[in-house]
Subunit: 77 residues, 7 copies
Amino acid sequence: MSDKPSDFLKKIHRQKVVVKLNSGITFTGRLAALDAFMNVALEDTEEYVNGKQTAKYGDAFVRGNNVLYISPAEEEE
Amino acid sequence: MSDKPSDFLKKIHRQKVVVKLNSGITFTGRLAALDAFMNVALEDTEEYVNGKQTAKYGDAFVRGNNVLYISPAEEEE
Amino acid sequence: MSDKPSDFLKKIHRQKVVVKLNSGITFTGRLAALDAFMNVALEDTEEYVNGKQTAKYGDAFVRGNNVLYISPAEEEE
Amino acid sequence: MSDKPSDFLKKIHRQKVVVKLNSGITFTGRLAALDAFMNVALEDTEEYVNGKQTAKYGDAFVRGNNVLYISPAEEEE
Amino acid sequence: MSDKPSDFLKKIHRQKVVVKLNSGITFTGRLAALDAFMNVALEDTEEYVNGKQTAKYGDAFVRGNNVLYISPAEEEE
Amino acid sequence: MSDKPSDFLKKIHRQKVVVKLNSGITFTGRLAALDAFMNVALEDTEEYVNGKQTAKYGDAFVRGNNVLYISPAEEEE
Amino acid sequence: MSDKPSDFLKKIHRQKVVVKLNSGITFTGRLAALDAFMNVALEDTEEYVNGKQTAKYGDAFVRGNNVLYISPAEEEE
């Protein structure tokens, strides 16, 4: 296991991820791009509030300073 | 798909976009310019609060630190 | 249309602008100066809260980190 | 009119100014010093909350990140 | 005992830790990676709110600016 | 009167000062040290909330980003 | 008395300290390490909320941007 979180994130590039924001809003989508400020570009993006889907965006660019955590999501069968 | 979010955003330059702010306010407009701080210049800008249009600006310069996400909007026919 | 928001803003130098703050307070005035931190110097400044004029300052120097957006205002006849 | 807000502020050095903070607190006093972070040193400082004077300090050093705007105050006769 | 907190954290690399966020949310997991901004990569991550487990993530990348403290957790037998 | 606020503060080194925080908490004490981030080291520190003394610390190191203003306090006879 | 707060803090290295956070939470513990961002490593850490002990951690690494002040604590007999 590498010692830098950014290496950790490179492992999940192109995977489906969950991006939770400080506000509680959660996005799921394919991790298309990520930079050092934790700005995240997602494809096939879905927005959830309190577990309910509230929007679908296709591509979305989420600003890093609002991100609480990023985690690999279970891939649908 | 490039690995840097900023490349992602260059793809949608001159396109109609949705810019959602941390406060929940949403702008739609043509993405005229964007910089590394996510400062955004929009043309033909419309402001929405809770889905209702609250203002029209023509040009508007939105400061990056308030931006939650940017996403391509459906182009009207 | 240039690709940098700061070029966008140079176009509206000396014009009458609307400066909306994160707090909802809005200033109108002539854009006298602007720097990279979005610090704004306005002339003939008027302050509005919920659409009602609450003060007039003549010159005013507004700190960038409170700015939500800047937009050209309609010039009175 | 110069293009940099800091030049704008040099013009009002030694003048009586109003310094409004994000919290709504307002200071009046003579602008003794100012730096790039908008840290402000005032002389003959008076503090106002909702238009009522709440304190007098003589000298006071106000930290920039709390400042909303600075504006020349009317000089008393 | 070294004088730099980062040396302190290297000691607990690969150990089970508690990561408490400013919002009160707590994560437990194996400290896989950490960087200078206190961005944390955890393995076998569990999320707790008010002491109750609310989610399990496996891997999770938590953004540093939300972290309140990190502390070694008791290793289960 | 110098043009840099930091020179202003050097003048009151070793003096008794009032340090008001954004939260409204106020400290009084002898200004022992100060740095560019407005981190303040005080001696004989007293803490006040709404004008009532709530603690005495002897020495205290107050982090700059919470400071609203620093002002010379009246020296007791 | 040195003029830099960081020198002040070196004096209390290895001493028992009180670390108060912006949120009101207070930690006591032995100051094991400290860096320029006021990240603090404590040993034998105890957490207090409103004066009541709420947790004991042994070692804890507290992130600087949440710290309000650090002060030497009375050493128990």
